[in-house]
Symmetry: C2
Subunit: 351 residues, 2 copies
């Protein structure tokens, strides 16, 4: 335990595989060439949008397990969630795998939350392999949170476009791997767990502004807890703040004495060419951070171009009901430090 919100692992788990499956719009975007699968059928062969999202999730899970060279029964737990009410994309997505499940919900921060829990279950000695997984789908999210797509509503500039896609990673225990396979491995070195942060913002069409304070809290706590400067990281990566949220985050951290403007990256701004693709402030959804991690960030770490990343998926806590009842939109974020060839010589600190 480090400081008030962070954990540094003594035996950091390895991220041994990642998978990404996205829709055609994501495939047409700047990261198109990086994804494992670009599915041209947004229904993924299903008869409803929700079932389609489930299929994306199932295929991401199966692919990550296959790429890790494992079978379903080698995975002790799945830690997974999605954006839909009562997490139905997950309930119907992965039941066929028949793996014990911890369902988690952190809105669009879910990939950070699921990886943080998965890392503790692996390092704590409770599992050799855990799958962390999340998904989102443009059409199921529109139905859940906004207007029927067929209304053709105008989208305000601050709004974001929910990513259709699912990303999964397999985390493995140190002692489950051969020395050879650990070489140049990517490890989950630390985590910093978020608190609910509510600045009283009520505009659900400006989720970047709602989530920026949550991201600020986690990044600030992480740097403080670990006594680090932002430059320690090749990238500090937020989930889906978009252009407006990014600006707010950078200003908030500047006011607290940290300048992340030089190495900040937002998955929501990376995944679409917003002007041409008309995605307004950027991409969003659980799937946004998940597929940008597995398709792009992990490859940058594997190639050695980057050696350390602070990955901070960001979530906006709202529902149709909370919005209609006039509530605010609080935010939460979860930080995960990924390192190549993690230097564990300086020891860990648990309990």
């Amino acid at each position: 335990m480090i400081g008030t919100q962070s954990i540094r692992f003594l035996h950091p788990p390895y991220l041994i595989s990642g998978s990404s499956i996205v829709g055609d719009k994501e495939g047409d975007g700047p990261l198109g060439e990086y994804f494992d699968v670009v599915e041209q059928d947004p229904m993924c062969g299903a008869s409803t949008w929700e079932e389609a999202e489930s299929k994306f999730q199932q295929r991401a899970a199966e692919l990550a397990i296959e790429k890790a060279g494992l079978k379903n029964q080698d995975i002790r737990y799945i830690v997974a969630g999605d954006l839909l009410g009562q997490m139905i994309a997950t309930s119907f997505g992965i039941s066929s795998l028949q793996i014990p499940l911890f369902g988690v919900y952190g809105a669009c921060s879910t990939m950070g939350e699921s990886m943080a829990i998965a890392a503790m279950l692996v390092e704590g000695g409770y599992a050799k392999h855990v799958l962390a997984l999340t998904s989102s789908h443009f059409a199921s999210a529109e139905r859940q949170f906004r207007f029927p797509s067929s209304y053709g509503n105008q989208r305000p500039f601050a709004s974001t476009w929910t990513v259709t896609g699912s990303g999964a990673v397999v985390l493995a225990a140190e002692d489950a791997l051969s020395e050879e396979s650990k070489k140049n491995g990517i490890r989950v070195r630390e985590i910093t767990t978020g608190k609910i942060t509510d600045y009283g913002i009520k505009d659900s069409m400006n989720m970047g502004a709602c989530m920026a304070p949550g991201a600020c809290d986690v990044i600030y706590s992480h740097l403080k807890d670990n006594e680090r400067e932002p430059s320690y990281y090749d990238r500090i990566v937020t989930g889906d703040l978009g252009v407006i949220g990014k600006k707010i985050l950078i200003e908030m951290l500047q006011a607290k004495g940290y300048d992340i403007s030089k190495n900040h990256m937002d998955c929501g701004m990376a995944i679409y060419a917003s002007d041409e693709q008309k995605t307004q402030a950027g991409g969003s959804g659980c799937g946004c951070a998940a597929v940008t991690l597995t398709a792009y960030i992990v490859k940058k770490l594997q190639s050695g171009e980057w050696s350390r990343v602070l990955f901070v998926p960001t979530g906006a806590l709202l529902s149709q009901i909370s919005f209609n009842e006039g509530n605010t939109v609080p935010g939460i974020a979860h930080g995960v430090v990924l390192e190549r060839d993690a230097d564990t010589q300086n020891g860990g600190d648990r309990a």
Copy 2:
């Protein structure tokens, strides 16, 4: 790790406090005298049902922390969830505590899931104290899953009545306690994590039947993994199967060679006097198992009347959308073994 789904803790965490706050209907039921607080105002002073549920949750959390003799900042993590879409009861219930949060969703099995994760975080060395928490509210659940209460719909016999209430427990690490305070302590000795179990049942008004296969899977795996007979436990406690689900569960386990008929208890059947209170098959909701645990089961263990309980909250995985799209209602359950004066002499088995 034991078998395919169970963990036996080497240093079982202590359950050092529990809290229960319920509505008046629960206060009028057979367990009325056991609850910490019976709130006569179903709105709990709030202006919406959802906000009322948040208030129940906040009060349960604060009471559990107070009863443990701790302050908010002593709690390293909250692991919490509820039944509402995007878990808004939790998002708005506990934000004022400013404690790092892992949001979890397992429908009505959530108390089992949150305690299982909390126990691993404590025993893994990642926290001295973790709060596990969940809630449900009759009126917010009716709005979410059924009909507006004011319609006055007839309720089929197989339907259940969602418990208004919230229960919270604080789990503590062995080394966070004095020898004195460990005496006669209650410990989380083992967990068994559930898989999604789908028998193709589509009747959301018969959730007992939907959840019984999930409960059966966890209880069977638990007994198999640990090579035990049901008689090892003073009680095997399910969350909210109700009269129909209970009958199915007992028959399913009998067919697999286990007879739990003598020591099975269902929280949904214990919390209401169904005939007089017109709750049909029994109580349900995340809060049902949570408050029955904290108010009743924990006291039976504390008094020494019982020494071992297998606590198995049971969840039905559905949403308005999945139901309206004609989907099945899969089930999931999470098992937690609570022991008084836990005999840890026979060792644990991690990894």
